[in-house]
Symmetry: C2
Amino acid sequence: MDIKEEYKDLLDHISLDCVVFGFHENQLKVLLLRMKHTKEWALPGGFVREAESMEVAASRVLKERTGINDIFLRQFHVFSDPERAKRNQAVPDVIESGLIFPDLAWFNQRFISVGFYALVEFSHVHPQPDLLSDLCEWVGLDEPGTLILDHNQILEKALETLRLQLTFQPVGYNLLPEKFTMPELQKLYETILGKELDRRNFQRKMLAYNILTKLDEVKPGVAHKAPHLYKFNLENYRKALEEGLSGRW
Amino acid sequence: MDIKEEYKDLLDHISLDCVVFGFHENQLKVLLLRMKHTKEWALPGGFVREAESMEVAASRVLKERTGINDIFLRQFHVFSDPERAKRNQAVPDVIESGLIFPDLAWFNQRFISVGFYALVEFSHVHPQPDLLSDLCEWVGLDEPGTLILDHNQILEKALETLRLQLTFQPVGYNLLPEKFTMPELQKLYETILGKELDRRNFQRKMLAYNILTKLDEVKPGVAHKAPHLYKFNLENYRKALEEGLSGRW
């Protein structure tokens, strides 16, 4: 599909930005794009076609960037500061991409952006740059630096949302492999929260939520005192997503 | 301001709808408008001016409908089904309002709507209809009937959000008067949850959250065994809003 086709039936003023979280080597990472011309980094994002809902548009964008269908994603906030998009930052890339003037004007209008976060299993993702970028890569949460536009704020708000959710909803399914150890789950929580947790308290609290099934298997490839494997009890997990973990009235 | 002035610098494709909750006579109520021509009921809503963020636009709309400045409001969801707005439902009212054709076409475009909920102290509100409506009234949550467009869905999602928040965040400030009794607070929770709660459990749980200050006063005008008055400890309340009530890691 050429660029003009791509931009043909997009709605004015509405965009989306995606914060894609993946967990790898005990670290929470986020998927970023490097803009072709300016070499600045950005969150993956896109626009909305006439026939699409926001969710369908976000799924399409993420399928293009990750290769994954049916990615787990959720709206978390609308970013609508009238000054948020100094779009001319991106203009050199738009010009380099071969977009002609009417499209550039379109590109420079004010956009209100719906933020989505996505949780993906790291190993399933095949990162793909978009028309305006030359790289698509996983970056550790401590190293994104200064992103374009208000993308640092969008990333921070996504993290904040995830942190608050840890206090009342289960998190981990979609981020961890099907079978995982308690230390791996704890490490995931620790990287989201940005702090260390007590091992015994963590285990006690997680088990009390009744969302884990302890398997009759240990972690393969560990010679001595190999940790047990767990998986999520999806029925209880989904119930906890709907009703909240602990505070049920 | 005449109508053309009002619609002059609005962004295409973006609207907002507000679910305004108030608590009165032990019942949770929602503010609705009655459309002039069709007599159908609708949530208060509006559009976004070029210089406004979504939040500023929502505050402006709610100031017009309620008379209240600095209303407590929060985004909760973006409604973007391409089929959501069969806007021609509202056309008779638009015509009656004196809008000319270009504005009607504008009015009939696809809108993606950002849902806000607002919590207000009932007694502070002075309901005002907008250009397209002849009534603005409080309606009990059990009696809204069929609203226009997807407004029933927006209302239901707002309630769902509030219910989930009860499990991890304090709710009540902005809805209750400054001083209130434990039975009044319980009744608020019961109307949001749509079920009765055990009195002693409720009190124990609420007190454990450490967000209430028991006052050295009883409810005035109650002859016998007048219940104690409480107010929120705003410092702890705000902390609980940020960190979650019970599940802190």
